[in-house]
């Protein structure tokens, strides 16, 4: 709480009735200072008039009391006259002003102003380019009573270059990856953060990229991001192709709920093994993907690691083909809904979720054209569907990409000549329509030791199915057939959250699988990020 010493306090014995903006002949110049750093509050008051020691202290205490009383009873009106920014050598004034000036100027009373100051401090901290931020309320010019100057002192980051490395698990990634990055903060003074990063994923995904983050660009209120990256993904084992991507992506709008980004990617599919099936062989080559992606996300669950209450919803829409008719043209939509219900005993909770996705090629003759393999949906993999919102791809018990339409790989005529050649294996092609669902019951284990460590158990049922709709296959599609061919698995397991990973040990039993699926009943491990 701040105290406002009234210039007329000496004359007016009733501090409550006085208003600070009343003109006063005896203008005692009183400075009020308010320091705020995080949540701590201090109060200081200085007077130009010098009083003798104990008398001065007593007078001060009186003023403090009166100010506190006034502030706690009525809103004290005040007007921000000026916002002064100090301490910024590199950062431009406009950047700081744009972040906080409106907020501060809009505060009508002192209480609001104090609240606004705390919000402004956290906003400036969030820019991530300052080591310290201090906001002080100074008295306004003497000829304008009832005003205040807000002084923002910033200490810019001493070391603009920072590096970090770690093991992360991105929502889109199928597994965890080792990432290292260098960040350069605020080289041009716009609050811009430049970063260069490299990542190596467990599933042989490698990526290098450079990006820039601008908190504010001219009049656009939301932060902008741009990133150029070069990455390669190896799918030889599952679908006989390798993907190389050279892309630019621009984050246009990024708030808690909404995310809009534009991607321009040059994608090349190759097959160095020369063993792919015909469907994959026809897709090898270069594509330009120019797509707009919009994500709407609500996550009201109480925890990301072990949700026990709440719900979450994510919808991702992607439309490609904004370049011209030579680029990839498709529309892709994904929905994901989750809910968690706490049950009374053993800290148990029931998590359920349903996800669905569809991809449609666009353009002339779209009903007979094919969708591109990397954009299709794949089911399978060991990642837990409970934690991350993109659980559409998980189907515990089945290998990565181990479900759905397949095609026989290239046959190389046998050289030994003794009977038929070894079967060449199959490529998993993915589906244009995917539906998956899961139900997971998590509970504490009876031993107190486990409970304290956060180790808990879970029992789950997962199901999913993929179907091909492109190239005219939608005519053969029937909902009943789709329902009948749903793959499913069930199991129990233990989850151990450690500092580095979140480890899951599951015993999965495949309830139903189709002819070429690679599902395996047995014990499986899965690792994901602890965050």
């Amino acid at each position: 709480m701040a105290a406002a010493a009234d210039p007329a306090a000496d004359q007016n014995p009733n501090p409550k009735g006085a208003k600070p903006h009343e003109p006063n002949a005896e203008a005692e110049f009183v400075e009020e200072e308010y320091d705020e750093d995080g949540e701590e509050e201090e109060y200081e008051e200085e007077e130009e008039e010098e009083l003798d020691g104990p008398a001065a202290a007593a007078a001060e205490r009186e003023r403090v009391q009166s100010v506190f009383q006034r502030l706690s009873s009525d809103p004290v009106a005040i007007r921000v006259h000026d916002v002064v920014i100090e301490g910024n050598t590199k950062t431009r004034d406009e950047v700081i002003e744009a972040e906080v000036a409106d907020l501060l100027r809009a505060a009508p009373t002192v209480q609001d102003l104090l609240h606004a100051a705390s919000v402004a401090t956290s906003r400036l901290h969030r820019l991530d380019v300052f080591d310290a931020v201090k906001i002080t309320l100074d008295a306004g010019p003497p000829e304008l009573p009832g005003t205040t100057n807000v002084v923002i002192e910033v200490v810019e980051a001493a070391n603009p270059l920072t590096g970090s490395a770690g093991v992360y698990s991105k929502p889109e990634a199928r597994s965890w990856s080792l990432e290292g990055s260098l960040k350069l903060k605020n080289p041009f003074g716009y609050g811009d953060i430049w970063d260069a990063s490299g990542a190596y994923g467990w599933d042989q995904t490698t990526e290098v990229g450079v990006g820039v983050y601008l908190p504010r660009f001219k009049s656009i209120p939301t932060p902008l991001m741009a990133r150029a990256s070069l990455s390669s993904q190896d799918w030889l084992k599952f679908s006989s192709y390798k993907e190389q991507l050279l892309g630019l992506s621009f984050g246009l709008l990024s708030t808690m709920k909404h995310d809009l980004s534009y991607n321009l990617t040059w994608r090349t599919l190759t097959d160095p093994s020369r063993a792919s099936s015909m469907a994959i062989r026809r897709q090898l080559g270069h594509n330009l993907l120019s797509a707009l992606k919009y994500t709407y996300k609500i996550d009201q669950r109480d925890s990301l690691l072990r949700p026990t209450k709440g719900y979450a919803l994510q919808s991702t829409s992607q439309i490609g083909g904004l370049w011209d008719n030579k680029g990839l043209r498709f529309f892709r939509q994904e929905f994901d809904v989750r809910g968690a219900v706490p049950l009374g005993f053993y800290n148990a909770a029931l998590n359920v979720g349903v996800g669905a996705g569809v991809i449609l090629p666009l353009g002339r003759g779209f009903m007979n054209s094919s969708s591109t393999v990397p954009d299709r949906f794949f089911l399978g993999g060991q990642s837990s569907p409970v934690c991350s919102l993109s659980g559409l791809s998980s189907l515990l018990g089945f290998r990565t990409r181990g479900v759905g339409p397949t095609e026989a790989r290239r046959l190389v005529p046998n050289e030994s000549g003794s009977g038929s050649a070894a079967p060449p294996g199959r490529d998993y092609l993915g589906g244009d329509l995917a539906v998956s669902a899961f139900a997971d019951l998590s509970f504490d284990l009876p031993l107190k030791l486990f409970r304290d460590a956060g180790i808990h158990g879970h029992a789950f049922v997962t199901a999913g199915n993929l179907a091909k709709l492109s190239e005219g296959e939608y005519k053969n599609f029937s909902v009943s057939q789709f329902q009948r061919t749903f793959r499913s698995s069930a199991g129990v397991g233990i989850i151990l959250p450690t500092k580095l990973f979140r480890v899951e040990v599951n015993y999965c039993y495949i309830l139903k699988q189709a002819e070429h699926d690679s599902g395996k009943t047995g014990i499986q491990f899965s690792f994901s990020s602890p965050m």
Binding site: D82, V83, V84, I85, E86, D93, E97, N149, V151, W266, R274, M278, R281, R282, L284, G285, H286, N287, L288, W323, D324, K326, G327, A408, R410, L411, V412, P413, N414, E415, S416, G417, A421, P424
Partner: protein
């Protein structure tokens, strides 16, 4: 090996359709790519029925052209190429049908065509012409940034392969054309007035040379040196014309090798004289001295401008820092 060959041949026989995947048709040819055309002609000479599927998205692929039969595939970058594979596996072997043909002659002719003549063709297609021909064949169905980048990459690779640098460009060109002239001369002698190169029976050397010559005569512009050189040898030109009618016929004729791709076969006319053909190396020689002077002068000019701008900025920077007053007055736009 015999059993493996038998397995491959059995697969070939058992396959309902054979599909040749090649690059797109252009210039009145069923496929305009100089690597795919010989394979197509070989299959036509052997009177094998096959379908054509056009690949438009992978111009820099090594494995195209390839032939699919059943679940098996014969790639261009395996076992010496599609024609060699088919011969080795005894699936389609033109040479074996006529044992009187001397294999040594055939091999040396093939070597000449696939090195000297191929080099000359690549040189003309990627280095000399302005790129419109290559663009029509390889990159017209790709978005322009990809097309441009791949084109530039390929041109650079061809120059590297042929050993062409800025210094030796003129010499290299002379060497390439000299070899091409020698090759055409030799081929003209070998052909004489026969229908095929060797003993009036088709061999794979015929397919290779026919593919090269068809491309030179149909796709390269009138001002092309290579084309001019080939046209000197009348018997070679007649050889090409004769087989073009016999094997390719009209683009609308049914029968052997019908195209199944959705993309239309546009018989693009050859560029008129001089439009797409720029004799670059010769012009470079003449321009060198003047150009060097001009470049030097322009460099000095630009450097002087840059220094002036820097001096200006530093002076203005000094002034503005003196004027800058931190009294907290903010001017809002």
């Amino acid at each position: 090996m015999a059993s493996a060959a038998a397995a491959a041949a059995a697969e070939w026989e058992a396959a309902e359709r054979k599909v040749l995947v090649a690059r797109k048709p252009c210039f009145g040819l069923p496929t305009a790519c100089p690597t795919s055309l010989p394979v197509l002609l070989y299959l036509r000479l052997a009177e094998v029925p096959f379908d054509i599927h056009v690949d438009t998205s992978f111009p820099d692929a090594d494995h195209i052209p390839y032939v699919e039969f059943g679940d098996c595939v014969a790639f261009n970058n395996e076992r010496g190429g599609v024609i060699e594979y088919l011969k080795e596996e005894k699936i389609v072997d033109l040479n074996s049908k006529h044992p009187s043909v001397s294999p040594a002659d055939v091999v040396s002719t093939k070597a000449m065509v696939s090195t000297w003549l191929m080099d000359a063709l690549q040189y003309e297609l990627w280095v000399v012409t302005d790129g419109s021909i290559a663009h029509d064949i390889y990159f017209s169905d790709l978005p322009w940034p990809i097309g441009k980048t791949l084109h530039w990459k390929k041109a650079r690779d061809v120059k590297q392969l042929l050993g062409i640098t800025k210094l030796n460009a003129a010499e290299k060109e002379e060497e390439i054309y000299q070899k091409a002239r020698a090759a055409y001369g030799a081929l003209s002698l070998i052909l004489g007035d026969q229908i095929f190169l060797f003993d009036n029976s088709p061999t794979d050397a015929d397919a290779l040379f026919l593919g090269h010559a068809l491309f030179v005569l149909s796709a390269l512009p009138d001002a092309s040196v290579l084309r001019g050189t080939l046209q000197i040898y009348e018997n070679l030109v007649n050889f090409v014309e004769h087989h073009k009618v016999r094997l390719l016929g009209d683009s609308s004729s049914p029968g052997l090798g019908s195209s199944t791709s959705p993309s239309s076969s546009t018989p693009r006319k050859r560029a008129s004289a001089g439009q797409s053909y720029k004799p670059k190396p010769r012009a470079k020689k003449e321009r060198t001295v003047e150009e060097k002077k001009f470049r030097q002068r322009s460099k000095y000019f630009l450097a002087a401008q840059l220094v002036a701008v820097l001096v200006f900025l530093s002076l203005m920077g000094v002034d503005s820092s003196e004027l800058d007053d931190d009294d907290g007055i903010d001017y809002e736009d």
